[in-house]
């Protein structure tokens, strides 16, 4: 990947992120923030490669912490986002209880 290609990717991805969020209703702000928090958990693959290539004990120790933190980011982000979104139902999907 040359520098200029990387720069193009950076630019296009930045616009994509902006476009995705631009039309989001306020009701989804918290789940969406949580969802995007999950997405940057992709740092896990970088941390895995960093630890995989580590040679000295110091590199291994830092790499280990990195993978551990990244896995926490990804898994935790997924679990809480999923829990929040699971609760969003429309009144058509669920019958209201009670009644006389």
């Amino acid at each position: 990947m040359t520098g200029i290609v990387a720069l193009y990717i950076f630019m296009l991805a930045a616009f994509t992120g902006y476009e995705i969020i631009a039309k989001v209703p306020v009701i989804l702000h918290t789940p969406l923030m949580s969802g995007s928090n999950f997405v940057h958990g992709i740092v896990l693959v970088g941390a895995m490669v960093a630890l995989g290539g580590a040679t000295t004990p110091l590199e291994k120790a830092i790499g280990f912490v990195g993978v551990l933190l990244a896995a926490g980011n990804a898994v935790g982000g997924y679990v809480v986002t999923e829990r929040m979104l699971e609760m969003f139902k429309s009144s058509g999907a669920k019958k209201t209880g009670g009644g006389h």
Binding site: M1, I9, F10, F15, T16, G17, Y18, I20, K23, V24, V26, I27, L28, H29, T30, P31, L32, S34, G35, S36, N37, G41, I42, V43, L44, V45, G46, A47, M48, V49, A50, G52, A54, T56, E59, I62, F64, G66, L69, A70, A71, G72, N73, A74, V75, G76, G77, Y78, V79, V80, T81, E82, L85, E86, S90, S91, K94, T96, G98, G99
Partner: protein, 480 residues
């Protein structure tokens, strides 16, 4: 990057990884897109989750992991990190969601900083041992910048978590604080420049970059008040995304670049939307003192607070044609949302039109109240945001305020001297009758007197939110 040693056949590990990461990027973008509409939101996280699973799995065959001796370390670290996060994520109460997001976000920032640290220490030790530099200054700069941002996000998010969780109650401020903060940040950056120019310099310099950046994250977050913390968490979320993107350049990993950048820009926009909803600029949140308590307004509020009994409110709502409920964080703290929804169901069964009006900053962060209502079983199509609902208050017979205060204070429209002047509010005062459920007579979270409570069409129902809601349920049932 060293040359790939794999055989250059069509089915090389490199190709498998490139294709998988490409797929992951597509799934992430589609997932986030789906998450931006309530109808498809649920499937969005599943799509993104699938992308993450694919990327993680194929990385075990990554050609830059030269031998298998570290594989067990990787597996052990993933196992421990996942287990802790899975357990804590399942257990956390919905009211504590904002600080949990902060915590997971900080972990991501820490991971990005760790990647940078591995690369920079390696370069530093090689330089100290007299080896010729392996990386150009572009590589080194990106690693340094990503590392600094990641470290700031890490320590800053931890402080944000501690503040919202109540572990850390103090708001630390001292004279010249901004100067000290600036010094920490510039110091970290300056050492970073030295490391880049000297191809890693020595390990001490590398340690200094991270040490100063971590300190800066702490120092920058400490003076910010709890009310502003959601905006700060959102900012750190965007910063982590950016740090991941920078480390993606370092690792030559397109999935990290794309995902990190998308989150970086989406998070920046989300931060701006949140700040706007609170009528603050981002600079104002980061560098001013409002969050700790507002200045006193000079205008005197005229009139008196007029109490009412639950039974009377029950009758009033039972025979209304339209009731708008305005919930605030106080309702969630009292765990009253289930009782409130039970009450609303009784009203709906009687043919009353019921709507929930949500202010953008109701709850601890924008959209948090929607999550809390959804937890109680309120369908999202009964929930309206500020722009949709404000015109409807004039046709409402009853506006029921429960646990909300500043977001319905009409002085935001009229009183230029008020700290909340100009903040968009819910026009609850336009309803024919306003009922406010409130524990006592004190002022709100920000310490600003609420003129709504003193209006002629306002009645106060004193009591704990959950108890008051239960009384209303009984009162409506008694109407028959």
């Amino acid at each position: 990057m060293e040359a790939v040693v794999n055989a250059p056949g069509i089915f090389s590990a490199r190709l498998l990884i490139d294709v998988s990461y490409f797929l992951t990027a597509v799934l992430f973008i589609m997932g986030l897109k789906r998450m931006s509409s309530p109808v498809t939101a649920r499937s969005g996280i599943l799509w993104a989750g699938a992308g993450m699973a694919v990327a993680t799995l194929v990385t075990f065959w990554h050609p830059d992991i030269p031998d298998t001796s570290n594989l067990w370390l990787i597996i052990a670290a993933i196992f421990i990190g996942s287990l802790i996060a899975w357990w804590s994520g399942k257990k956390v109460a919905m009211t504590n969601m904002p600080q949990m997001i902060a915590l997971y976000n900080g972990m991501g920032g820490g991971a990005a900083a760790a990647i940078a640290a591995v690369e920079l220490y390696r370069a530093a030790f090689a330089h100290a041992a007299g080896h010729s530099p392996q990386h150009n200054s572009m590589f080194m700069s990106l690693a340094v910048i990503g590392g600094i941002i990641g470290a700031i996000s890490f320590s800053g998010s931890l402080i944000a978590w501690a503040k919202l969780q109540g572990v850390l109650n103090k708001t630390v401020r001292f004279g010249g604080q901004k100067f000290v903060n600036g010094l920490l940040f510039l110091g970290s950056l300056a050492v970073g420049v030295i490391v880049v120019l000297h191809h890693g310099a020595d390990p001490l310099h590398v340690s200094l970059i991270f040490g100063l950046a971590l300190l800066f994250g702490v120092a920058m977050t400490l003076p910010i008040g709890g009310a502003d913390m959601p905006v700060v968490i959102s900012l750190y979320n965007a910063l982590t995304g950016l740090a991941v993107a920078f480390e993606g350049f370092v690792m030559q990993n397109a999935a990290m670049i794309i995902a990190g950048t998308v989150v970086g820009s989406a998070g920046t926009l989300l931060t701006q939307l949140m700040a706007k909803a609170m009528n603050r600029s981002l600079a104002n949140v980061l560098f001013s003192d409002f969050g700790s308590g507002g200045g006193a307004s000079t205008t005197e509020v005229k009139g008196s607070m007029k109490p009412i009994e639950a039974s009377d409110v029950g009758v009033m709502m039972a025979f209304a044609s339209k009731v708008i409920v305005v919930p605030g964080y106080g309702m969630a703290v009292a765990q009253a949302q289930h009782k409130v929804w039970e009450m609303c169901q009784l009203l709906i069964d009687r043919g009353v039109t019921v709507k929930f009006a949500i202010h953008p900053v109701a709850g601890r962060m924008p959209g948090h109240m929607n999550v809390l209502l959804a937890e109680a079983g309120v369908p999202y199509d009964l929930i309206a945001d500020l722009d949709e609902i404000n015109a409807e208050f004039e046709t409402a017979d009853v506006a029921l305020i429960i646990g909300a205060n500043d977001v319905v204070n009409p002085v935001a429209r009229t009183d230029k001297s008020s700290p909340i002047y100009g903040m968009p509010i819910l026009n609850a005062d336009k309803a024919k009758n306003v009922i406010v459920i409130k524990r006592g007579q004190g002022a709100g979270f920000s310490g600003i007197e609420n003129a709504l409570f003193f209006l002629d069409n306002t009645r106060m129902l004193y009591g704990d939110g959950q108890k008051a809601a239960a009384e209303l349920v009984n009162a409506i049932k008694a109407v028959g």
